[in-house]
Subunit: 271 residues, 2 copies
């Protein structure tokens, strides 16, 4: 779904550029807009670019990031760039791309890899993809939490190595969410979505910590704003959802872990 929106974004910009230069009429004889796609991306997105009929696509069709030299070669003279957060879009790259570059679409929530000032200076439009992975990230957080608490990895290993026999009451028992306390570090979009998903599992109490209280989100999931220490001490499950900044480096350190309950489960979905 969001891929359609994403490719549409780059197309809108390119088609605006192409048509405006051509006096608001699409001239088929005019050269197609050159677009460099820097990674193997979902086919649906490529199809949108291809089917538009206005794009000449150069594609780094690999699961691995494009090396810098190939990236620089690839962007020379392009009108559009479809990139990921592995590509550093700086002055050097923009100069190499040249004055044709009209739009950069990055398939990422973050845009730290873009030199926004240089981009602005050149009047280049930027597309990015906020929100599109909120649900998926929350779902993966719950998946990791349950797989850990219910010891699925060990269970699968036992099933594979022949250790899975008759049912044993105490064997591979884990910890359930019923009546538990869940601590959320960073009650942003993803942290909130995680709490919404965990609630019907019978969580007794949500604790959260953040730069500042988030009264609206907290009210909806009846979460209590606490210090990081209290969160560590009282939670049966801790999930981490914060950006990596100078303030959050080393946030969960030895001291934090030593305050946690011995049976608590820690899930980090931050970078």
């Amino acid at each position: 779904m969001w891929l359609r929106g994403f490719s549409r974004g780059i197309l809108t910009e390119l088609s605006r550029a192409v048509t405006s230069e051509a006096g608001y009429t699409m001239q088929r004889s005019r050269p197609l807009a050159k677009v460099f796609v820097s990674r193997r991306v979902p086919q649906e997105a490529l199809n949108l670019l291809r089917d538009s009929g206005i794009c000449d696509i150069k594609h780094w069709d690999s699961d691995d990031p494009v090396p810098r030299t190939d990236l620089l070669k690839g962007v020379a003279g392009v009108d559009g760039l479809y990139c990921l957060l592995t590509e550093k879009i700086d002055k050097e790259l923009l100069d190499t791309a040249g004055p044709n570059l009209k739009v950069i679409s990055t398939m990422s929530v973050g845009f730290d890899h873009l030199s926004l000032e240089e981009i602005k200076k050149r009047g280049i439009r930027v597309g990015y993809t906020p929100d599109v992975l909120t649900n998926a990230s929350a779902e993966l957080t719950v998946a990791l939490l349950l797989a850990t608490s219910r010891r699925l990895m060990e269970a699968v290993a036992e099933a594979k190595n022949g250790g899975w026999g008759t049912w044993k009451p105490m064997w591979l028992c884990g910890y359930g969410l019923s009546d538990s306390t869940v601590g959320i570090v960073g009650l942003g979009r993803i942290g909130f979505a995680v709490a919404q998903r965990l609630k019907p599992f019978g969580v007794k109490k949500f604790l959260y910590t953040d730069y500042e209280p988030k009264p609206e989100a907290a009210a909806e999931i009846q979460a209590e704003y606490v210090s990081l220490d209290k969160l560590a001490e009282q939670s049966d499950f801790v999930t981490i959802h914060c950006t990596l900044t100078p303030e959050t480096v080393g946030l969960c350190n030895k001291e934090f872990f030593s305050k946690m309950k011995r049976t608590a489960i820690f899930i980090n979905v931050s970078r």
Copy 2:
């Protein structure tokens, strides 16, 4: 929590038996009630029996089931039996136990392993543990579903074998619950609890099938009653929650699987 209730059940019966035979007064000089515990069970349950001061416990302290001959030896002359569904409690066992046996507590939802008629004939009271695992079973169902759909087992294997490199947009992509259709075979307590837990993941539609429509449960999760065929054809996720009976043997056979979407995920938590 439920273990407390469970051990309390056996204790209530034994203490009733002991005190009634002793003329409603606890006589410390009276021999303790003999209890056979047929497996390694949670310590909390054993503590309740021990701390009661009225039980003399014989314990088959192993994760593996007690062999029949040891079980028969173990129950000879007991007042109480704490067993699991692996122990067949039939005429032979009851005769071997003898007339002292007053209460059988089985740590199981099912009681197919108990010859109820023989037990009734002897006036023996029976305890079992319905409902206590509904939440845990539903939680494990969701854990299995997410671990499968989000390909956690493959991801863990890659992390272990060194295959985990930089982020790749298409790598290990799974299927999300957002906007999906979930089909539940058997909308009993567990099936219903699974639907409740999956709802906030953004499931678009719940389908279910059962011996007959369950209008109350269905209304609460807005589930539609459909045939097994339609459920197979339309669901992105199928979870199975039904007892193994002559009618359900082979329910999900080759024909069923061939009707499922090629991308659908099938989770069987039935026996």
